[in-house]
Point group: none
Chain length 408, copies 2
Amino acid sequence: MSVKVSIINIGNELLLGRTVNTNLSWLGNQLAEIGLPITKSVTIQDDPQEIQNTLRSEWRQNDIVIITGGLGPTDDDLTKKTIADFFGKKLEFREEVWMDVQEIFTRRSLQVPEINRSQAMVPEGFVALRNTVGTAPGLYFTQDGKSLFALPGVPLEMKNLFENHISAILKNKYQCNPVIIRQIRTWNISESALAEKLKDVSIPEEIKLAWLPQTGRVDLRIYGYDKDLIEKCLNQIREIAQEWVWGEDEDTPQTILYEFLTKKNLTLAVAESCTGGLVQQLITSVPGASKYFNGGIVSYSNEIKINQLKVKSETIDKSGAVSVETAAEMALGVRTEFKADIGISVTGIAGPEGGSKEKPVGTVCFGISDKSQLLTTKVVFNGTRDSIRFKAAEFVIIYLIKSSRSQA
Amino acid sequence: MSVKVSIINIGNELLLGRTVNTNLSWLGNQLAEIGLPITKSVTIQDDPQEIQNTLRSEWRQNDIVIITGGLGPTDDDLTKKTIADFFGKKLEFREEVWMDVQEIFTRRSLQVPEINRSQAMVPEGFVALRNTVGTAPGLYFTQDGKSLFALPGVPLEMKNLFENHISAILKNKYQCNPVIIRQIRTWNISESALAEKLKDVSIPEEIKLAWLPQTGRVDLRIYGYDKDLIEKCLNQIREIAQEWVWGEDEDTPQTILYEFLTKKNLTLAVAESCTGGLVQQLITSVPGASKYFNGGIVSYSNEIKINQLKVKSETIDKSGAVSVETAAEMALGVRTEFKADIGISVTGIAGPEGGSKEKPVGTVCFGISDKSQLLTTKVVFNGTRDSIRFKAAEFVIIYLIKSSRSQA
């Protein structure tokens, strides 16, 4: 019989539409991956009577109940007290939790507000799960073979507690067959064009294929329980879609870049305009990026392109700031000025203003410069300002990876 | 007595975490605005037994039940049949709905697939709500003064039906007062410390105060029906928390920066290290940022701090790259090199590597340089690499806004 899992989300903002419930989708993903997909989810107001009623019905009908929200220092401990009452338990003071709370404040050189003392109160017989990124511990209780977890609603803390504690507890208790989920990540091709290319790939019934269009690219998700069957499908797709595949599974453009540059022992500098820092932000989101990333320039004004990047003012006058000619000089300029092995550049029109008939909003030019060559390309993206910026930022990184691979 | 509103979301992908439930937050917002805030929401699998059980409990406990999902052409009409059965109704063919469905296909010059004929089947006694952007009509039924709505799960169609039909039906039936929602945004103070400061603010019972801890800062949400009472609360909070308040309602650090710099007609340049481009990305996420943002440098290596930003190598040798001394020279350097009125800087340790006893991971130094002064400060943030970077990036923008305000 399948294990029934219910999530209770507590929070008025979720019902008032001020906060989108990303906790639920994150938990849904995690639980599906360990073979315990969510059966049902209930979102309620931060009200003891509602919590009591919902807990009663969900605890009766399910094997695992996970409560999120209502555990912060200002939540008056309503949730914790309600849970304790429901199971007929008293709240007790836990010295070790109080020490953790104090330590978090001490680390930040802050005094511990008295209000936080309540966070060390835990229902009798409950396990306090250590929260390393916030002051509210998670709670864990088992009875009649069932498991209850209560977590703070702050996504960072909820994830921390799930990853550090709950995942292991559940995997250990229910030796489930985890779903095998693999991904192939493609680029520079539309969902429908890719579907056409892949129409002859045979997918056995036991395997599921999902199309996940991302901002500016398409991921293919292949999942099921049979490893060999999945690998067969992957191989077919890899071969046919080779031209557009840039990564697999949890790869991101920036992690592939990390592997490539550290392996080749090359350094990189970036000159970006319309992406406004996003390219460099993606690159530096990978710990250890300082090994290969020297730095870069956000050249929002033409003066900075000319003064800092040594772009010729004639080039801007003749071809415009958004042109492959300017992109080429930006890439070369940043490589030289920042003494890097490779320079990459982005210049474009993210909108909503600034477009023209020849260069509509979404027009972005890219450059790559290294010792042996200078590559440029132009793409017209569609979408909002944010999505154009994001697509362009990922594009230049994948462009560098793909062109280096084809060169090698 | 308040009207109770329940939303039932049907969809496996919501529970598997493949889709974030933005329908719920959208409906939550709309319903709060017309004075009928959601009381509860339940998300279930696309399974007749689950739908039946959930509908039974929600119909009993609420005045308004809105079902979303399970009404598309490939959904086998499970949801519609289950709803009809629940109310003891038969499905009947509606000619006018069938004509609408046919018209949609004709408009797109397509043949009507036979599968779509089932979309014209409606439970007896139900009103079919005309869907102008898709083929599945909405359903509306009243009994014992209660209202049931069933809508397709595709956001565009769901919104179309709500805006064109449901909103008017509900406003007409319940002459409600819309909820007034206001926000005060604070910075540089923990949730618990702020709670301590605000403990004497008297919040009347009619007004609700919610604490919304964000990454690195805290928002206060005050809501209710009485505008004057809410304004009184806001004024008390504004006065007591003045030191930590940087914005209200939908303000973000970067939109406040936009207002401030365009009003004063000042230009800005940015030198950032550990934030790796994020500060500039936030600034340029606002359309029109090119009016005041000249550009900036991501100075990941010391050479770039020295060569491009004119930081003295003695300063780095003596105080370290992460120090208020280096931050000061970075801010001054970028202001001078980029010919801006204001220069701001960020240098720190985002981790996970690179921390020491004197300068633990999370240590970040900030500088602000303008014609008349040079300010610096040091903060130790906690959290992951991503959250430290995000907190630091927002911090420097708010730091600039707050110090300019206190100066004015």
